[in-house]
């Protein structure tokens, strides 16, 4: 897939709501190098669902995973999609980044567009304490069902440390 096709279409559909976009070109292959592309875009929280809807409508995306990044006062979520599979050199990675303020940690679900996103959304919910509006299943997935701390939040580091059970006495030495 040509990176300009996908980015151009996003610029048309989202207009000024597309806050930032960049294309990273890498050369792969040792005999006859060819380019592959990583695309990164930034949208705000209210536009996220529209952006994903547009991607699903026109580009048949695959959601690799959602990653979270604790930036202090904000939590950044990166929705790592890939699009254009099925064709030699046809695929690009397409990451949609959005910022969520810590004092209002919620984001709309995208499971209505791509049901496979549920695993990743549940994981972000339990590890970062972010509410996913409209998620069909909001139980903990990887953490125990009654666990309420959020291990990947850097501001809750002390709570997390307190919850880690030292299995062997000498492990405490590094404290």
């Amino acid at each position: 897939m040509n990176p300009e096709t996908i980015l151009g279409s996003f610029r048309t559909v989202l207009g000024a709501k597309l806050l930032e976009d960049r294309t990273i070109e890498r050369q792969v292959g040792t005999i006859n190098p060819k380019p592959v592309y990583d695309l990164w875009v930034v949208v705000d929280r209210d536009t996220l669902h529209d952006a994903v809807a547009h991607l699903c409508e026109d580009f048949n995306p695959h959601l690799a995973v959602i990653s979270g990044d604790d930036l202090g006062s904000d939590l950044a979520l990166n929705y790592h999609f890939t699009a254009g599979w099925g064709e030699r050199y046809g695929e690009v990675t397409f990451t949609i980044r959005t910022l969520v303020p810590k004092n209002d940690l919620r984001i709309p679900t995208i499971t209505d567009l791509l049901p496979g996103a549920q695993t990743s959304e549940r994981e972000k919910r339990e590890f970062f304490g972010i509410e996913i509006d409209g998620i069909p299943d909001a139980r903990n997935l990887f953490l125990p069902e009654d666990m309420t701390i959020h291990p990947w939040r850097k501001d809750l580091e002390e709570e997390t440390k307190g919850s880690v059970k030292r299995l062997v006495k000498w492990e405490e030495r590094d404290e």
């Binding site: 690799a64 099925g86 064709e87 030699r88």
Partner: protein, 419 residues
Amino acid sequence: MNNRSINLEIGGGEKACYTVPIGPTHPALKEPIRFTFDLSGEQIVGVDIKPGFAHRGIEYMGMRRNLIQTLYLSERICGICSISHPLAFTQAVENAAGIEVPPRAQYIRTIIGELERIHSHLLWAGVGAHELGFDTLLHLVWNVREKCMDLLEQLTGNRVDYAIPIFGGVRRDIPAEKAPLAYEALDYYKGLLQQMIDAFLHDKSVEMRTRNIGVMTYDQAIELCSVGPTTRASGVKKDVRVDMPYLAYADMDLHAITPEDFGTEPIGDVYDNIIVRLLEVAQSIEIIEFCLENLPEGELSSIPKVPALLAALKKAEGEGIGRHEAPRGEVFHYVRLVEGQDEMAVWKVRAPTYNNLMPWVPKFLGDEVADIPIIAASIDPCMCCMDRVHIVDEAGTESVRVKEELVRLSREKTRRMSR
């Protein structure tokens, strides 16, 4: 007792629905996960999946160590994919820091990666045979797998955790005198491949137990974002090595293996999963031969000295994505590096089983209790890859040990059908 009260008792004429928890002791593999099945008679009408019993907090640990320490940690995410995670991780860091990898190193990484695919697919085939009750086949396949493990030991020094990739290259060469060993092993597998295909794909009992069992359709595979042989068995031609090539895969002509390569229409059942994995072993042999024949001369690493490498990584700033088509599907790593900091700001690991969790649901629905072990095994699940965290549940979650019972049921079904 009148008719009405009878109807009430048996739920209005419908069959009663039972809930059967299976696990955390896993029915098919030696790894923990909990399935809660809703059964109507023998038929599965609902399933709830709870992973996380092997969560060790590896990402948490990785964000508190320097990058070279984390590289060794990434190798220990999974014992079978012990090069897949480092391959994806090194690529992510190299993309973030802008480090080049010499051609010879790219080829060596590819060779080890493909050897891993051969032994992993054979391991899976053995497990599959065991779940169906063909223990003779299990012993045959795992015996054959040893040749690959021996070759890996001869090339890298280890049967697992090969410690081959490092940021900017590889840590060990494959010298010319080792090449004959590799060719010998590849010839051995080429001779065996037809036997394997006969034993699995032309066996009446295997076909009866796996055809139209554990089906996931093409559309379900796409909307549930499944990866690897699981998705290719449903006819989705998705393979990172083909779609977005990297390492030596960019230099050769590849295509994604689906059941069409065997001459059948993809159904997405367990049988198609066997087809894809066996044919991928043949593809891996071709890839390794290509790499050995075209192994470029030159450096092994662009920054061979470890202190210099650590200094370069500390200066790096940026984010990167690394992807590798592991035996079970795409491994995806995302890292963000911050200048002046030894450890990563963010490390997200996405193992293939993570995306193949939800496809389990359509695969289970409608099938029988005796099919649970083989359907569970059909995606080639790897809990330690997926869970990666460390909390021991003290609450004593429901743990019903029914593995032996299930395997017995599964074997009885095979015997019944072969009669």
